[in-house]
């Protein structure tokens, strides 16, 4: 065996390679937040909640595809639609719990464990921090809502009698689902993070997110009541607001079962309310992290 070779001092080496700036730092913080939210590089206990909830959210798709598979050869049985693509872009209990867990976990430990001074000692501004966190949570919620749709679509494709026919017959789904899921993900990312930013305790932040969503839903339901004509009070329901936009994407109008149905300009009002919630949430986040450059 040769005994020649170089001896390296592993203790410290200067770094002469490329060095990124704000954009790279935002990307790094986004990736770190996603890893943390999904429990990656953490103990198995941290992985349980996100992946169990993702599994629960995927159950309807698996059931729908399974029934389609079982009944594919039965004569005189029409295709049984357990759940459609539009309905599946919805706010499930699993999604609510997921958001109420991941949003506080993305923000609260940084404040509670006083990590923020270290983060802002890097080439990042307060706005960059907010962008990274919103980007990370949007990506996570998007994946959480989109992956079950992929299972549903691919599964339906395979159990269909005519895969090519199914594909060409459902081409609109290929853009409507990502668009609607993106609207839902951005909405819940900004809303939940802005609420979570007001507390340094995860449990308080999580309960506040659920509370705001449920309370606005109940209040809106009471105000709208049983009116057949609908009411602008339906806009107060932050639970349903992104679903109004989903319907605009899928149907091009407010759905008949919506509390906004019958309200003149309901679609425009829904878009304006959606934008207002995003603007307010972004404002809260910018305000909470303004001190980084004060």
């Amino acid at each position: 065996m040769s005994t020649t070779g170089a001896v390296y001092d592993r203790s410290y080496r200067p770094y002469e390679g490329p060095r990124g700036g704000r954009r790279e730092a935002i990307g790094a913080l986004t990736r770190a937040t996603i890893r943390r939210a999904l429990g990656l590089r953490r103990s198995w206990r941290q992985k349980v909640a996100p992946f169990v909830l993702l599994g629960i959210a995927t159950v309807p798709a698996v059931v729908a595809v399974g029934i389609g598979y079982v009944t594919r050869n039965l004569p005189n049985v029409d295709r049984i639609a357990i759940i459609g693509y539009r309905d599946y872009v919805g706010v499930s209990s699993a999604l609510l719990v997921f958001v109420a867990i991941t949003a506080p976990d993305a923000l609260c430990p940084d404040r509670r464990q006083r990590v923020l001074p270290l983060i802002f000692a890097r080439p990042l501004t307060g706005i960059d921090y907010v962008l990274a966190k919103v980007g990370a949570l949007t990506a996570i919620v998007f994946a959480f809502s989109f992956l079950p749709q992929v299972v549903l679509y691919v599964g339906n494709l395979f159990v269909s009698d005519d895969a090519l026919g199914y594909l060409t017959g459902h081409l609109d789904v290929l853009w409507k689902v990502p668009a609607a899921v993106t609207l839902l993900a951005v909405f819940y990312a900004v809303l939940s993070l802005s609420i979570a930013s007001l507390s340094s305790r995860r449990i308080v932040a999580g309960a506040s997110i659920i509370g705001v969503i449920l309370v606005t839903s109940v209040v809106s339901g009471v105000l709208v009541g049983g009116s057949d004509d609908g009411s602008p009070a339906a806009l107060l329901n932050v639970l349903a607001l992104p679903l109004e936009l989903r319907d605009l994407v899928f149907l091009g109008r407010i759905a008949r079962e919506s509390g906004l149905s019958g309200v003149e300009g309901g679609g425009a009002l829904a878009v304006a309310s959606y934008a207002a919630v995003l603007a307010a949430g972004s404002g809260v986040l910018a305000w909470r992290y303004r001190w980084a450059e004060r």
């Binding site: 592993r10 203790s11 410290y12 080496r13 200067p14 770094y15 390679g17 490329p18 060095r19 990124g20 700036g21 704000r22 790279e24 730092a25 790094a28 913080l29 990736r31 770190a32 943390r36 590089r41 953490r42 103990s43 941290q46 430990p109 940084d110 464990q113 006083r114 990590v115 001074p117 270290l118 983060i119 802002f120 000692a121 890097r122 080439p123 990042l124 501004t125 980084a292 450059e293 004060r294």
Partner: protein, 304 residues
Amino acid sequence: MAGDFLRIERLTKRYGPTVALDDLSASLQPGLIGLVGANGAGKTTLFRLLLGLTKATSGHVEIDGTDVALDPIAVRRRLGYMPEHDCLPLDQSAADVVSTFAELGGLPARVARQRASDVLDLVGLDEARFRAIGTFSTGMRQRAKLAQAIVGDPVLVLLDEPTAGLDPGGREEMLDLVSRLATFGISVVMSTHLLDDVARVCDQVVMIDAGRLVVAGPTAALLARTGRLVLDVGPDTSTLIAALGARGLGAREVDHLVEVDDDGDATVDQVLEVIVGLSLPLYRLASGASSLDDVFLDHAAAAR
């Protein structure tokens, strides 16, 4: 002065009616710099200004030729920071945390992981790098904090009370690590109120008191300039002080001893001449110039 590594010019920071820093100026070269002052002296405010995390009311700071106020992002790309308080995510491993902070500093992901491993090895956490930081002792957390501060190969690292809360052994290890940083080409500003730490590690010192500069300069020069002779001549101190005063030497009584300002060998010769001339006994003659405490107290008193 052109070419200074760290240039602070007439820096003032006010928070409402409170003046945190008052017309602070200092010019420092690369190396190990001690920032000394009591609690509330303005050390943390100065760190925030160096990091570009707060704007000066007036004056400015340059680090390695870059004005911090004009381009704080560029400065922070080459700066490391170790706060005094606990600041690391407790439920993540040291390797994960340090590599994440390397990436946040702009290093590519693969390089960040490799450097995190190397730096944790350097600070003595190689075997603990996959453990959650929440399981670390105080000394290990301090070393993990130092690791994240230097992982991005900064030109300057700001250490806020790096030995706080450490036992004597841990303190020695931390000071050894800090003193090694200069050999890696990393300059250090070490904030502390422990003057012994500064005397042991730092080649330059900046002393501040109530937001004002007390004195700044090379540590060795400051110690030399404050040299004193301490004499024990028995009870007749007033006679000696009067005779020394007649020769133009500054002398005073401190705890039944005579303390004389020492400007070098000539002073010793003159003092001995006077003592012989007065036929006083000489029980002890010692140099009293050995402490940064004296430097701080003397200059702080003069500044007031």
